[in-house]
Amino acid sequence: MLNLKTEMAGAMAALVVTGGIDSSSDVLYSATQKFNKICYVTINKPYHTFSTFFKVNGIDPQKVFFIDGVTKTTIKNPKKDRQVLFVPPADYFKSIEKAIRKVLQQQHPDLLIFDSLSSLLIFEQEATVIRFSHGLAAMVKGFQNKSVFIVLEKDAGLGVAQNIGMQMDKTIYII
């Protein structure tokens, strides 16, 4: 079973290569067992879908603040919640970066989880995603936060994973 705290010992940033559809839940579960303030950036599934996960696993949802990059792509005015920041679809990448910067500056989380680099490839060309993710990883490291960037195994050989891999202190495989 993944022990993120142990895996991250001596590392500020890690690339997590996952094989399964729901491996990112394993990452979040492990994070909530050892970290108290987590910022979870979801580009994969909307914020509201996590409520079942918290209930089933008996996790305090207050531990996790979400940056939700999914909901507003389909719902213009989602219901407001203290635990989430919805990213508007306009100027999408800049909006994600702005939201992450705001949370890092104001909330100082112990850990940031970015789920996932693979999902970004749905929105833009690979070259754009590479440039964005390289800048984003640098920004998160600049705040000296621990961070985890998830990528699906099928994309681990692509430029986006290769380039961000240079900035990571460690690669963790959950396959």
Binding site: M12, G135, A138, G142, A161, N163, G165, M166, D169
Partner: protein, 171 residues
């Protein structure tokens, strides 16, 4: 663990590293050079993050000078006595000026350029070739040894290998 002695006495080395162990391998190199004066050009990790990692890993930084071309992306206000900040990773003229100045003033024994692969994210390969030609000429006029760690990229290796003394691949 890699041993920097494997790099031999060549002055300019293009070092091909696996991307998923890149950070760890570069850190190993720095650790082995830590008795020397190092000029570390970083386009991957902000200076502040590197300093924190070095402290955690017990790597001395009193003999290391940094040129940081990535902190500008973070928009976090920074200043440090052992670092020159460049306004963007793609600002290669500014980067060249900073390197030339540091080579002359700091007089390092060793330079680590981390990395040409990052430069390739922001610039076309032709610009990088021109930059490398100019940089290698400058370094050849000094006694500084330089290592250029990169991730495997045939286009980059083919074009840059003519400016270095050896291409070494570590897996």
């Amino acid at each position: 663990m890699m041993n920097i002695k494997e790099l031999g006495d060549k002055q300019l080395i293009l070092l091909v590293l696996p991307s998923q162990k890149f950070g760890e391998k570069v850190m190993e190199i720095v650790k082995q050079y830590d008795e020397q004066k190092i000029l570390y050009v970083t386009l991957n990790n902000p200076h502040a993050a590197l300093m924190k990692l070095y402290r955690e890993k017990g790597i001395k930084t009193n003999k290391t000078f940094f040129i940081d071309g990535i902190s500008a992306k973070t928009k976090v206000d920074e200043s440090a006595p052992n670092c020159i900040y460049v306004s963007a990773p793609e600002a290669i003229t500014q980067l060249s000026i900073a390197i030339n100045k540091t080579l002359g003033v700091f007089k390092p024994d060793q330079m680590i350029f981390d990395s040409l692969s990052s430069l390739l994210i922001y610039l076309p390969v032709n610009s990088i070739i021109g930059f490398c030609q100019s940089l290698s000429t400058k370094i050849k006029g000094t006694s500084v040894k330089a290592v250029f760690p990169i991730i495997n990229n045939k286009e980059l290796i083919d074009n840059i290998s003519m400016f270095v003394d050896d291409v070494v691949e570590w897996k």
